[in-house]
Subunit: 500 residues, 2 copies
């Protein structure tokens, strides 16, 4: 090779890695110790916010997600901070009014966000227009996103058309997002090649999960095809339902004509940091390793465990195989949406309903909205019979306009509602927190003053409690003092031990 | 792509996978249920014997390794059975006389072995000559092996020369063996390409471990370069210090112009079988996931844990980093041998000695033999100072002849010795078992009639015992007293503890 091309790396440890591996439970205080090393390592960007982290902060950790963002900004002063934004859904599960979208992006930028990776679950660009415009207006980096999926209708040409449409919105870069680890090496090569040909000079980022065990190869092929940046997670927070290991991607490029110019000593320190932290979250860890069945069912790993628990609650734990077989049919009826939040939940739950109650006997409100166009349009046609059932059940008409167009400005109403909450601090950020999670935010505001709650646990302590509970549940977890005969260098002492 | 080339797959589940992941402890009875599905799945070969499995059978499982082989032959009637053979070492840890080598290969072939992958830890072809000739004489498939390593002296041209030398011995195929997961994608491509160019029509197999997280890509590159067969392990026994997942390699090839023609439904059944078995071996499982530090130290993962335990036994657990830094120096002094059984143990132990007692102050007998040429020649020159120390310490002269030439025929003597053992059954196979493991075989012969011992444990049972032991430490299975090394303010005491 005559020239060496540098490939950028986005580190996922602070967001998607712990979201995927340990149910988004990692507390900020368990990340701060790694920030200086991450900041110095030479990443293209550091993903650290968005996705489920906002929700988990207020739901489980009594932690203000905006304060988390400001802390990252302070601790990662030279890094591009990156977030994942669900277009018109922002970080919530419904479409928001354009005024709320504008305000959210403006506040996120103001609090320190640099790169906004904006996606829509249906790949409907109308749902990302407004947020991308807001990112541009804030002078930040707008990354338009292609959600990768597999269906009879999804083609390389289709992805290129989507890429063009996103580029037309003024995106600074494009991301190919493979949330379910379905992106095989050859499609990765073909899609990136075609986008690079269609849009010369456009930066292309590739995000893959590792679940199916093929996507490290896909990253290699994407790089060969011209991908500029790939997403990885530090090795101690990698693999399984997470991502390919940062250090392995660095190493795999040796001699190939590509290089990921990261500081290996700092990577080692970041690895060691999270290797030490990880055992504290064992209770939340996925036991999932590698799983290629996803290629047939196209169902992300996290979705399978959700469906399993839905089925068990209905006393139908034995119907999982039927539901897995139903999902592709439901997906077809809905025009082959990619399966990613929230479409994965909507399709999965409808599949469960179909198996338990008969095909489309009852539609969930969300699935009815989906087939009626209220989430946007999908690549395929909706099944007309199912659309008819949705109309009959809901009394709603199908729409073809941009869903956001139907939503009136709502900022003032949201501010008024938030203002009435105990602990509301008067900031736009608090209004946005309330807007995203109106059921969870009130409780969080009320308890915020108590400070963050770290749900990680010392494994030794967990074990001691378990053993104590099993040994003598009546007298509490620590049945101390305990007397031992201790022999030291041949001399025996009677020693009693109890907590200091 | 106009034509699609079929790539063969060697399944490792029955040998190297459980050797790497669970200390070779899997009992035959936990494999038999998968054999019909493996036999039908369409593998190029099924590795099922050799390596450490022979040793583990008689040392831990009270299982006759020859009976295991015959069982595989019966249960896998249409498969090529494959074994790993350490050249003149056979399955033991010393060189054997040529007559023993001949007899071993002849008996293995007679008991059902088809493909003999023959390697020498130093890549000295003189050490594989005899066994390869014996394989040819038995009418079986002789696979000559190149142990991959990285050093200032190891080049693509050197590997090609080795390949030519192995081809000259009449090998039916060649294996590129990457026991430490050091083979990065570009060298994989370059080496396979060069071998294919030098030896048109020669079948090339590639064996990689997964430890460093890069070798799935290396397999892809090797296939692109023309590799005919790659080694994988069914996903439920894959990754970590093991191998890349079979199903993932099958899937990654989709659309690439290559195909691994395996039956996916049967693979799923094999996966499910071992997923159910695996928890029974939790106590032996490596917790190791992905580790790229190996690229710097070049030390296989299993070797690090060995060295750690050697150091702890010497009260020098804090010296691991020093030892890891010493290993490359020792390797250089010994002419850059690949690190694989037995050279990995020999180099690693000498590095421990050097750190604890000063550089080459004491040589292990094995390391002295290594630098004096008694294991064969290495690519680099031996350090003359170290050779001088070895001569002085052992009184032995360096040799340059084939080590096997110095060993007198020994079959008759071994048969006489074996004949005196309680439980010896008179067969050549028993003589060979004794020859391989003269310290372990007598005990095994004596207890063989009791039948195989499955050391796998029901996880629920293990947990119940542990809880019971905690609740009532006096009568549980964890018998007191327990000895600890306790270090207080820098002074270490041996302390024994039991309930008062």
């Amino acid at each position: 090779m005559t020239t060496v091309r540098t490939v950028g790396i986005t580190e996922l440890a602070l967001r998607d890695a712990h979201q995927s591996l340990m149910a988004t439970r990692m507390a900020l205080e368990d990340m701060v110790g790694a920030c200086a090393d991450i900041d110095g390592a030479g990443y293209w960007s550091v993903e650290c916010w968005g996705g489920a982290t906002f929700d988990a902060c207020i739901r489980f950790l009594n932690e203000d997600p905006w304060a988390r963002l400001r802390t990252f900004r302070e601790l990662l002063p030279t890094s591009r901070l990156q977030m994942l934004l669900r277009g018109q859904n922002l970080l919530g599960y419904r479409h928001y009014g354009d005024d709320v979208v504008d305000r959210f992006v403006e506040r996120a930028a103001e609090n320190g966000m640099d790169v906004f990776r904006v996606f829509d679950a249906l790949n409907d660009v109308r749902n990302v227009e407004r947020s991308i415009a807001a990112v541009k207006r804030a002078g930040k980096h707008a990354q338009g996103t292609i959600c990768y999926t597999v269906s009879p209708l999804h083609t390389v040409e289709g992805y290129v058309e989507l890429a063009r449409n996103l580029a037309d919105l003024g995106c600074d870069s494009l991301a190919l997002k493979d949330m379910a680890a379905l992106l095989k090496p050859q499609p990765a090569f073909d899609i990136v090649t075609a986008i690079k040909q269609a849009l010369p000079g456009m930066q292309v980022n590739v995000h893959c999960h590792a679940t199916t065990g093929v996507t490290q190869v896909s990253l290699m092929k994407a790089i060969e095809a011209g991908a500029d940046v790939v997403d990885t997670a530090i090795s101690s927070l990698s693999l399984g339902p997470g991502h390919n290991p940062t250090e392995s991607v660095v190493e795999m490029l040796e001699g190939t004509g590509f290089v990921a110019d990261l500081d290996k000593d700092l990577l080692r320190r970041v690895k060691d940091h999270f290797a030490a932290i990880k055992p504290r979250y064992a209770q939340f860890m996925s036991s999932f390793s590698v799983e290629t069945d996803i290629f047939d069912s196209q169902i992300p790993g996290g979705m399978i465990s959700n469906m399993e628990s839905q089925l068990r609650q209905q006393g139908a734990g034995d119907k999982l195989a039927e539901v897995l077989a139903e999902v592709p049919r439901v997906r077809k009826a809905a025009g082959y949406p990619p399966l990613v939040t929230p479409s994965s939940q909507i399709v999965g739950t409808q599949a469960v309903f179909n198996v338990l109650m008969g095909p489309y006997h009852v539609l969930t409100a969300e699935f009815a909205d989906l087939v009626l166009g209220y989430y946007g349009h999908t690549l395929g046609e909706m099944d007309p019979d199912v659309v008819a059932k949705a109309r009959a059940q809901t009394g709603k008409d199908p729409i073809t306009v941009r869903p956001g167009d139907l939503i009136e400005p709502e900022w003032d109403a949201l501010r008024d509602q938030a203002a009435g909450l105990d602990g509301f601090d008067g900031s736009d950020e608090d209004v946005l927190t309330y807007a995203m999670f109106p059921k969870v935010a009130p409780g969080f505001f009320a308890t915020r003053a108590e400070g963050p709650k770290n749900v990680g646990r010392d494994p030794a302590e967990v074990e001691a409690e378990r053993l104590a509970a099993a040994g003598d549940p009546g007298t509490g977890p620590l049945r101390m003092p305990i007397a031992y005969d201790v022999t030291v260098d041949g001399r025996t002492h009677t020693v009693s031990v109890r907590p200091a």
